[in-house]
Amino acid sequence: MATPGHHTLSVLVENRPGVLSRVCGLFSRRGFNIESLAVGPTERTDRSVITIRVDCTRHSVEQVVKQLDKLIDVIDVLEVEPDSAIERELLLIKVRAEAEHRLEIMRMAEVFNARVVDAGATTLLLECVEHPDRLAALEELLSPYEIVEAVRTGRVAMTRASIANEAARPKLNILG
């Protein structure tokens, strides 16, 4: 119970000014470090989803879920279990690619479903949408060539269609 672990929370919110700072404020107030955060619109223009990745204990995550649920602009909070969800993140990475390494890098990219989206005289810019663990693996493999620049969007997640039996956002049981 006291051992920290990674948790992904999917927070459905009303698309109103200030809602992101309300949500983030709760994490900082309780001393949790947000590892990744992604915000974007949903199928409805008046609602957004904030996907948050934190490293904390099970007890802490339960507390933060309940506290998030108390925010008026938060419609619901879902903890995404890795086994029952699809998690994706976008990586843009600019890697040093001298002529003798270009093909090697491009082949490696192919293995990871990464695309070359731009090329310079000595660099390649790759784009990859994958599970965040796979992105980390790709980055590691590219690191010997010198990574000039890398940026990631933060993960987004959705429960699998098969497991969630078609329902959107199966409810968390906060009643314990």
């Binding site: 007890h59 009643l175 314990g176």
Partner: protein, 589 residues
């Protein structure tokens, strides 16, 4: 307001300014009184107060903090939402302390602040402060109104949020240009807040599980917090406790939720609670927690708190469940529903046999209580506990509301006053706001004009908000401010004496305290003083008889400490106490 007048206010339509819309919205929410101070960014609203016919009394205070605490005192004494108003910038930031206080003590409060005009927001304009940003962690919700059409909706939602579920403060920030803009007003009927619900489904399995735990318990104790008062569930609690025949401990915030004079009451738990309350909790095998939150001032060392007890936790706020102490059974929702439901289940689950099983328990509790009453020693100097007892006696049988500041006097009052009904004890518990007493007492008196309102304050606390004596005079609010003047920041001094080798760093106010009698008279109040026991009754009698704003300067023994005490970090049953000689005086409870 009468039902028909209220109905009319809610159906009002017409073209008007945003400022008038605020007033019409307040009328639609049945607001009859509010507290505030005008200023640049809220000028249009104050102009509308004078220009429009309306039914709201505005009380002009002397500092916005006073407005906030008065609204809190009113809210806590009446159960209605308190409303305070301030201008942008410094006016708004002066409300921060009462807002935080209302947040920690779950008080329904709506704060309306003016904001600089929309085109200046974000430019560091004159008297601009991002108040919605500043109060973010201490409000239940806040609104920065974006269009004039949003004003009625924002206020409607603000009152709904402030007063339902677990009550709390809501701030509505209204830019000046929106107060001046005109629009077609109508008050929304429905509330559309998909992210907010205070309804919880009945969970019969939880009721059954709780009833089973009670049936198995031989040493139950009912641990009651302020939630019982917010839920107006005192009657249900008394029935519940009498059915269970379990001792009841009421936290600082819950004083009065269960009668202090009831034979099952073991009074206050925690740092300065009774030994018998803390021992009862410590030895219990079942903690029935009702609208309380396992605050550190109650539990002491958390993992040593009620170590052998299972926990049933009633609350309206799911985030309180298993926050500090894991609950074995959770009962979420309105106490008016869950308490009777569990009581019925208990009656049906071998209650008679259980009562026989726990006879020894009640005998033990009564024994501890008899052997370890709250007490104090008489001495040459005037004792604060004596003053409190004499006030209690003088107002016995009358409708009295007791208000306090924060510190030693607050704890003495909690220990030595006997209060038998809810909303008659108003104190700042969670935030521990020195200066709460004087303005909160004024607000409570304005909400309950026929009651006798006494503010037990300290000399340190009173100097933080005593400017509100001017407000008391202006509106003829006959609160008695009983200042326990020991010339020190007494509670801090007590800690310095006990835990910091008597290094009294910056706690001595001697020589810098104003003459409180002259101060009272300067404002036009009645000023009285008592320095000996012999003088106490006369000043109390005069203050009660004159029924006007009064300050009594009680010169008390500066060496007097609050006992018993759980030192910080200790387990709650390990209380320290002084050595008693034969002269001690028992509590009046």
């Amino acid at each position: 307001m009468s039902e028909s007048a209220l109905d009319k206010a809610r159906k009002r339509t017409g073209r008007m300014t945003g400022a008038e819309a605020i007033i019409r919205s307040l009328e639609a929410e049945d607001v009859t009184i509010c507290w505030g101070i005008p200023g640049g960014a809220i000028l249009p609203l104050y102009d509308a107060f004078m220009r429009c016919d309306h039914t709201i009394q505005h009380v002009l205070v002397r500092h916005e903090q006073g407005a906030g605490h008065m609204a809190q005192g009113y809210a806590r004494a009446t159960g209605k939402v308190g409303v305070c108003i301030a201008t942008s910038g410094p006016g708004a930031t002066n409300l921060v302390t009462p807002i935080a206080d209302a947040f920690l003590d779950s008080t329904p409060l709506v704060a309306i602040t003016g904001q600089v005009p929309t085109h200046l927001i974000g430019t560091d304009a004159f008297q601009e402060a991002d108040i919605t940003g500043i109060v973010m962690p201490i409000v239940k919700h806040s609104f920065l109104v974006q269009t004039v059409e949003d004003i009625p909706r924002a206020l409607h939602e603000a009152f709904h949020i402030a007063s339902t579920g677990r009550p709390g403060p809501v701030l509505v920030d209204v830019p000046k240009d929106l107060q001046q803009a005109e629009f077609d007003f109508s008050y929304p009927e429905a509330i559309e807040l998909p992210g907010y619900s205070t309804e919880f489904p009945d969970v019969p399995a939880s009721i059954a599980a709780a009833a089973t735990l009670i049936a198995q318990s031989k040493r139950p104790v009912i641990y009651v917090g302020g939630g019982v008062i917010n839920a107006e569930a005192s009657e249900d609690l008394i029935l519940f406790a009498e059915t269970l025949q379990a001792p009841v401990t009421t936290t600082l915030l819950a004083k009065g939720a269960f009668p202090d004079s009831h034979p099952l009451s073991v009074q206050m738990p925690g740092m300065h609670g009774s030994k018998y309350a803390n021992w009862t909790i410590h030895r219990s095998d079942l903690l029935i927690t009702i609208g309380a939150r396992f605050d550190d001032r109650v539990t002491g060392k958390l993992d040593a708190f009620a170590p052998g007890a299972k926990v049933i936790h009633f609350d309206i706020d799911p985030a309180e469940i298993s926050k500090n102490r894991r609950a074995d059974v959770t009962l979420l929702g309105d106490l008016k529903r869950t308490l009777p439901a569990l009581r019925e289940a208990v009656v049906e689950t071998r209650n008679a046999e259980r009562l026989a099983d726990q006879r020894d328990w009640l005998t033990d509790v009564q024994g501890w209580r008899k052997e370890n009453p709250f007490r104090y020693m008489k001495g040459e100097k005037l004792k604060p506990q004596y003053i409190i007892e004499q006030f209690d006696r003088a107002l016995k049988g009358k409708d009295a509301i007791w208000v306090t500041g924060v510190g030693q006097h607050q704890m003495w009052a909690a220990q030595f006053l006997s209060i038998d009904g809810p909303r008659r004890w108003l104190t700042s518990g969670g935030l521990g706001t020195m200066g709460f007493g004087a303005p909160a007492a004024i607000g409570a008196q304005q909400g309950c004009p026929d009651a006798y309102v006494v503010n037990f304050d300290g000399d340190g606390c009173f100097q933080m908000t005593s400017q509100e004596l001017a407000t008391a005079i202006c509106y003829d609010v006959p609160v008695i401010h009983a200042v326990m003047n020991n010339g020190w920041l007494g509670m801090v001094r007590q800690w310095q004496e006990l835990f910091h080798d008597e290094r009294f760093s910056e706690t001595n106010l001697f020589g810098t305290i104003p003459d409180f009698v002259k101060l009272a008279e300067a404002y036009g109040c009645l000023g009285l003083r008592a320095e000996t026991e012999a003088e106490v009754d006369a000043v109390i009698e005069q203050a009660i008889a004159e029924r006007r704003p009064t300050v009594i300067d009680f010169r008390i023994d500066h060496d007097e400490k609050v006992y018993p005490m759980v030192p910080a970090g200790a387990a709650s049953h390990e209380m320290i106490d002084q050595v008693w000689d034969n002269e001690w005086v028992e509590e009046g409870v």
